[in-house]
């Protein structure tokens, strides 16, 4: 039906394209830019943490010129600016960088290919979800430049602070944050509906549930989490927007006294209501950050151990269990808000429960290595490093999960260390693995392996130098979101005990963080250089992989497959199968050399495609 259309023009092809691959690339590039911005904010904040009150070199002048003396007097970061950057670092990293990269880019690009579909189920919705995301991102960026600056109440936006932090401006950073979030949430909803429908409806013939690559499973569970967890945040956002703009009091209790004067609101609201709604989203959200990463790691590990995944089914069931339990643990972020023994026991128990499937997934991935024939290419290195890094992040979640130990660790750098280990050397490494791994499929060229390894080694070292000392800071009692890096809490003549080592570590951490940024230069150069100069792939399947995306032309054309693929086997049939061959792609029948017709009920017999 679509065969005889004239080729679409530039706009339709690259900007308002409905092709899942173009949309995926758009998501990916935009998200990488946001990753960079998110890092940039943090790099500036780390100056203030290491050298409180000193003008920021080079960038200080820029900040002064752009934001004015209210926020960056003499190039010194003001407390308000620090809080803005902190809130926006978290927001940008989570909602504008990692999720769009993991779900928007990889989900979009890879899922239809891996299930043998010509596109997403709703291509126009797909395009819209990208553009809605884009608008949300622009709104977030614009908020830096309005009077008063961007949102400054943390990425968690706790009320009442979020409502009264900027009493001067009617439309303040928080307002734009909320409006931006509504866009981002809408985009995620559209995207998740699309991914779920695609996976359920468009699987190729023969691709039963237990033949799906684990990556597809991870995306499916992720999409369900997005679908069901995001709406409550949207509701919360609308309520807070009303508080900020229309004077309602959803999250404002009776009797607020601000700056010595009673606040002119009706009262009667509940600050904890916001926290419940927020964490009901935000806890499942953290599994949105990790599940696609686990999916990528599983693909890369299987491919580079040349061996099936150990315990594929337990991976799948664990992912489902995580998806389900993630809706029952949200209040472990709220132990110290005043909960009794019963409620706290419930949430401690669910928190320990949800750590079990994570343990299973990690164990399974580790055991996959045993007996393999391990290739150490760049994607594999990142995927391997993911395991212990996520291990550290996950394990340090345990003392936070017990309310009694959370007393000491809540809102300290221990928490910062915990979740950065999961999202930075964890998820970001997995995403790097994915980029290096699928780059040849997208571009037809390989990224340079040597510079990839340099990128890997430097990133690994500096990630750990940044985040490992934070555990010590946290145990020593250093709180997060401290504009002066905790200097106020140094020991003094009148104090029996104050911070000591933690303050010193600040400096080292900051230097490591800046070097971590520099360590990305080989990646960025490699990424663009390889587009034009990278080694061309000799076949459509350069990694000798089994899954369906490698059975398409490179790069895949509109419609993806030249012939409708039919799946004959599980996703990871690696292993010694014949002389010089150690894998059987999913779409090949028993004997790779003699394609035989198969009968799928009610349809014409079909000849499977020849080997590429």
């Amino acid at each position: 039906m679509h065969d005889h259309h004239a080729p679409p023009g530039f706009w339709r092809r690259y900007i308002f394209s409905t092709d899942h691959k173009v949309v995926g690339i758009q998501y990916g590039l935009t998200a990488l830019v946001f990753l960079f911005i998110g890092y940039g904010l943090m790099a500036l904040m780390r100056w203030q943490l290491a050298y409180p009150g000193q003008p920021i070199p080079i960038f200080g002048k820029l900040l002064l010129a752009v934001l004015g003396p209210d926020l960056a007097d003499r190039g010194i970061m003001s407390p308000d600016l620090y809080n803005s950057f902190g809130a926006m670092h978290g927001t940008i990293m989570v909602f504008l960088a990692i999720v769009p990269l993991a779900v928007g880019a990889f989900g979009n690009y890879v899922v239809p290919l891996q299930i043998g579909a010509p596109d997403m189920a709703f291509p126009r919705l797909n395009m819209m979800s990208y553009w809605v995301y884009f608008v949300g991102g622009v709104i977030m960026l614009v908020s830096f430049f309005i009077p008063g600056g961007a949102a400054k109440s943390g990425w968690t936006s706790y009320s009442p602070l979020a409502t009264i932090a900027d009493p001067v401006h009617q439309i303040d950073g928080q307002t734009l944050w909320l409006i931006g979030m509504v866009f981002l949430i809408t985009s995620s909803l559209l995207g998740s509906i699309n991914i779920i429908t695609t996976i359920i409806q468009l699987r190729a013939r023969g691709l039963g549930w237990m033949r799906l690559p684990f990556f597809v499973w991870a995306q499916l569970v992720t999409a369900f989490i997005l679908l069901l967890a995001f709406p409550p945040l949207e509701a919360a956002g609308v309520l807070q927007l009303c508080d900020n703009l229309f004077g309602s009091s959803f999250f404002l209790p009776t009797g607020l006294v601000v700056g010595g004067r009673p606040l002119e609101v009706s009262g009667g609201g509940s600050p904890l209501l916001w926290q419940h709604l927020f964490w009901f989203l935000a806890h499942p959200e953290v599994y949105v950050l990790i599940l696609p990463a686990m999916g990528i790691v599983a693909e890369v590990l299987a491919n580079n151990t040349r061996k099936p995944l150990f315990g594929y089914k337990s991976l799948v069931y664990s992912a489902m269990a995580i998806g389900f339990i993630s809706f029952l643990v949200w209040a472990h972020h709220m132990y110290l808000t005043g909960m009794g023994t019963k409620i706290s026991t419930f949430f401690q128990t669910t928190t320990m429960l949800i750590s079990i499937p994570s343990v299973i997934i990690l164990t399974t991935l580790m055991l996959t290595l045993w007996g393999g024939s391990i290739r150490f290419n760049t994607p594999m290195l990142f995927a391997l490093a993911f395991l212990p890094m996520f291990g550290i992040g996950g394990l340090t979640g345990l003392p936070l999960g017990f309310s009694a130990t959370d007393i000491q660790l809540h809102d300290t750098y221990y928490v910062i260390g915990h979740f950065h280990y999961v999202v930075a050397p964890g998820t970001i490494f997995a995403l790097f693995a994915g980029i290096y791994y699928w780059y040849p499929k997208v571009t037809g060229r390989l990224m340079n392996d040597f510079w990839g390894k340099v990128h890997f080694a430097l990133s690994l070292v500096f990630m750990n130098l940044v985040f490992m000392p934070m555990f010590i800071q946290g145990l020593e009692g250093m709180h997060r979101r401290m504009y002066d890096g905790g200097a106020t809490y140094a020991a003094g003549p009148d104090v029996a005990y104050g911070l000591s080592l933690g303050l010193k570590l600040n400096i080292g951490i900051s230097h490591a963080a800046w070097l971590l940024g520099l360590a990305q230069v080989p990646f960025i150069v490699n990424f663009f250089w390889s587009l034009f100069r990278g080694r061309k792939v000799e076949s459509d399947n350069p990694w000798q992989a089994t899954t369906l995306e490698w059975a398409t032309p490179t790069p895949p054309p509109h419609g993806n497959f030249l012939e409708e693929p039919v799946v004959c086997r599980g996703p990871y049939e690696y292993g010694p199968v014949g002389p010089g061959r150690d894998f059987v792609p999913q779409h090949l029948s028993e004997s790779p050399l003699e394609p035989a017709p198969v009968h799928v009920h009610g349809r014409e017999p079909l000849t499977r495609p020849q080997l590429v």
């Binding site: 109440s153 009794g340 164990t363 290595l369 394990l395 292993g575």
Partner: protein
């Protein structure tokens, strides 16, 4: 043992009774974490070396056999369950469950109220009863809005300079609250931390075991002065505490009263 834990985990020195239990749990969890991490790391590194492609060009047709992994997983779950039931829940039940609080008559009762960006301490005075309050009475002289007609409030003592004074060796019941936004009342050496939420009064209790001045930190982001919201918890001898109350009461009976 306690000293060793503090040294190993680099915790602040301990100055409260229940803190020892918190530290013990913290230590045991970290022990579990280290064991798991070191064990797995050894396995991981060995595997990478043993099965690298150069050494092992053909993958095994079957990987791991046996149930070792299941035992491990069950083991982790069991250890977590033990820590949860054996330590975490009981500690919480004692410190955070209102039913298990010490008797107010045998304790020092104090309200701790956060506001941008300092702390107010409030003692009930001789009658042991806090006076009523309402926002409509709030003024510069009466920041908490005490009701001038409530006799119970007449002898209440309000300390506005971010100092909380308590006697050593006797339970302290603290009601933590806030006037404006959410703050966090946190004294690390005493292993005490509770959110100060406007509209709520969160009770917690602890028994200070050492005299000294301990930092009160604000653990929740509360605005641009959050980083500087420092206070002092002064743990003093009982006599000193009595003297302190007397002095404050005398000052309150002076020119400033809430009429």
């Amino acid at each position: 043992m306690q000293d060793l834990i503090i040294k190993l985990l680099h915790l602040p020195p301990l100055a409260s009774e229940h803190g020892a239990e918190v530290d013990r749990l913290l230590f045991l969890v970290h022990l579990l974490m280290v064991v798991l991490f070191v064990g797995w790391s050894a396995f991981f590194l060995y595997t990478l070396w043993r099965y690298r492609q150069r050494k092992h060009p053909r993958p095994d047709a079957v990987g791991v056999r046996g149930h070792l992994s299941s035992y491990l997983e069950v083991g982790v779950a069991g250890a977590e369950a033990l820590l949860l039931i054996g330590l975490a829940v009981p500690i919480w039940a004692r410190t955070a469950s209102a039913g298990n609080f010490p008797k107010p008559e045998e304790s020092t009762v104090v309200r701790i109220i956060g506001r941008q960006f300092n702390w107010i301490a409030r003692y009930p005075g001789e009658d042991g009863v806090f006076g009523r309050g309402d926002v409509k009475f709030v003024s510069q002289q009466n920041p908490l809005g005490l009701d001038p007609d409530d006799p119970a409030g007449k002898d209440d003592i309000i300390v506005e300079n971010s100092e909380v004074v308590v006697p050593v060796g006797k339970p302290v019941i603290a009601y933590v609250s806030s006037l404006d936004v959410i703050h966090g009342f946190s004294v690390k050496p005493l292993r005490v931390s509770y959110d100060a939420i406007p509209g709520l009064s969160n009770p917690t209790w602890f028994t200070p075991t050492h005299e000294g001045n301990f930092l009160i930190t604000c653990s929740q982001l509360c605005g641009n002065g959050h980083f500087s919201m420092r206070g002092l918890l002064r743990v003093v001898k009982p006599e000193e505490f009595a003297a302190f109350l007397k002095e404050k009461r005398a000052a309150a009976a002076g020119p400033v009263s809430y009429e």
